[in-house]
Symmetry: C2
């Protein structure tokens, strides 16, 4: 059975600026067989944690959160990146800087959907500088929810945020940790366990 690292080597594209394009199978076109493999891996790792809710951020985290929530049989919640006219004022909010878009988003979740009884598993497609995960952690802190772990598909290990967050006690399960990638040779080096 093919796993995430195989997809990255086969279909990922290394671009300059430390960009890894994975929209052939994860970020625009989504391969549901891969989603199932990923959800199974996170389930095996976090199944004892009494997860009550999956939390992610729109848009590219949603597919991963959905497949994972199906596996855990719990609801999932996605934080929004912008405030729209039909949202309530009853929100948890946190600032997240996006290096891809070079702007700061105020992410939010309605207070009804995270609470102090929740054991939250945070899910996202990439972990690079850690901004999105830190924003989601802040929403959970405001809600009084317990974060039982973080499931990341692809961690850019050379950007160090994952190592820093782990050193603070966060249980992060990244399915592919990239220690280096070369936009000229296209070579990708994964961290060995």
């Amino acid at each position: 059975m093919l796993e995430l690292k195989d997809y990255i080597l086969k279909h990922g594209k290394v671009l300059s600026g430390d960009i890894l394009k994975v929209d052939a199978f994860l970020n625009q076109q989504v391969d549901i067989n891969l989603l199932k493999v990923i959800a199974d891996e996170w389930f095996d790792y976090f199944k004892e944690k009494k997860v009550t809710k999956i939390l992610t951020i729109e848009a590219s985290g949603i597919a991963l959160a959905c497949a994972t929530a199906i596996k855990f049989n719990v609801p999932f919640v996605f934080a929004k990146k912008s405030i729209t006219s039909n949202m309530s004022n009853n929100l948890y909010q946190a600032k997240v800087f996006s290096y891809t878009h070079q702007n700061t988003n105020l992410i939010s979740v309605d207070k009804s959907y995270l609470n102090k009884d929740d054991n939250v598993l945070i899910i996202d497609d990439f972990l690079a500088n850690g901004q999105a995960v830190m924003g989601l952690l802040e929403l959970c802190r405001q809600a009084g929810s317990k974060v039982v772990g973080v499931g990341i598909a692809i961690e850019k290990g050379f950007q160090k945020a994952g190592d820093i967050l782990r050193s603070k006690g966060l249980d992060i399960k990244s399915l592919a940790i990239i220690d280096s990638m070369n936009p000229v040779s296209k070579e990708i080096k994964f961290r060995m366990k």
Copy 2:
């Protein structure tokens, strides 16, 4: 087993301006049991259509497309609402006006992910004025893909776009068609089959 109409009556909120808030179970917090019921209904309806790909638009269509793609065992693709720095220039594009946000988005899909051999099932959470569906139809037209049908969770029947698109021969399966909703009494009237 509860179906979509039950969720709408129990957890939906009718606001002024013809807004129906469903973020308790579909648009921010997502109930995966409901997702499975919805995917099963679309599968029953479209299963003879030789669907090769599910197409939706970010962000709130992604969960529905994901569950439906798992049921059909095909990939899904989501159109993006904005152009980011790491996207290719090789895009199908269409203009979509958003009444919620009062702006026009240029939606896009990389040309690699839709092609002339695809039998596409379009999926979205709401059908109101039909702008999103028409944008997705335009992307398929550019790609030469065959659109075999459209699966909609909630159709605002009083806004007529669904009826107009059906009159043009489009096979639309909406799971809840609302003929009227009253922001004062909160009453919702569904169309009878």
